[in-house]
């Protein structure tokens, strides 16, 4: 079973996934310790973290937000992303019938703990196609160096 970012796996297993999640809520997560800042599966925006030898890359999948209003801060090894998204569905309009309101609205807040070797003063963030991409370079001295054998 994979956990979908969007809580809607398609096909036959969608129902089982939903049942599993509901049971998880009732009986609590499996006894393994989780990261102290980890969130319930399916919290939006979904986050992917990757690394290259020279940087740490964080992708927050947050479509339809105003990038100037997102708060990205790095504080003592912790990256925080906070923002909000307004609903695009017209409310209280008698002439409009709403059939589905699945897209999340309201404020969001995610944190990612960063490894010790990042240079927090050089964070670069960009927003493209609904993905907030945050790139933090890793300090020079910790990058792997090749040692030549005489």
């Amino acid at each position: 079973m994979y956990e979908s970012m969007l809580n809607f796996p398609s096909g036959l297993f969608g129902e089982f996934e939903r049942l599993r999640r509901e049971l998880d809520d009732v009986f609590g997560a499996s006894g393994m310790p989780a990261g102290i800042r980890s969130v319930a599966p399916g919290t939006l925006p979904a986050i992917n973290v990757g690394k290259t030898p020279s940087s740490v890359e964080i992708y927050a999948f947050a479509p339809g937000i105003d990038p100037s209003k997102v708060d990205v801060t790095v504080d003592r090894g912790l990256l925080r992303i906070a923002g909000e998204r307004a609903s695009a569905v017209p409310e209280d309009d008698a002439k409009v019938t709403v059939y589905s309101r699945e897209r999340s609205t309201g404020s969001f807040y995610r944190t990612v703990s960063l490894p010790d070797d990042v240079d927090a003063s050089q964070v670069r963030a960009s927003y493209r196609d609904g993905v907030l991409q945050i790139s933090i370079p890793r300090r020079e001295s910790t990058q792997p160096k090749r040692i030549t054998v005489q």
């Binding site: 994979y2 956990e3 979908s4 970012m5 969007l6 809607f8 796996p9 398609s10 599966p41 925006p45 979904a46 986050i47 992917n48 973290v49 990757g50 690394k51 290259t52 030898p53 940087s55 740490v56 890359e57 992708y59 999948f61 947050a62 479509p63 339809g64 937000i65 609903s87 695009a88 569905v89 017209p90 309009d93 002439k95 409009v96 019938t97 709403v98 059939y99 589905s100 309101r101 699945e102 897209r103 999340s104 927003y127 493209r128 196609d129 609904g130 993905v131 991409q133 790139s135």
Partner: protein, 124 residues
Amino acid sequence: MSTQRAIQKTQEQETRSVLPRVDVFEDESGITLLADLPGVPRDKLEIKVEGDTLLIDGTVQPQTPEGLEAVYAEVRVPRLRRSFTLSRELDSARVDANLKDGVLTLRIPKQAHAQPRRIAIQAG
């Protein structure tokens, strides 16, 4: 035997997809559909109307630098697909699509004859 299983697994991975979340609402002149498709660039999005079925099919492809190694991934299925059946009073030939910041806005107008019309009552 195991290569056959490996081929089947790759095929399954290629067709695995996730349903994007949508908002759908209708007003007098048509239906508006908003779909969350983060990370899908315009050239990786296909919108097809076949008969009375509307299909949205996008591939998530964020910009990744050279040598990127995944550390933690909540998005693991890079394909967003969802289809809808359009009822006959919708004019599927005049669908208007706009993709901005990962949000697809589709506007499907009603056929001209299906729009509400007030019928004037003749006197006498």
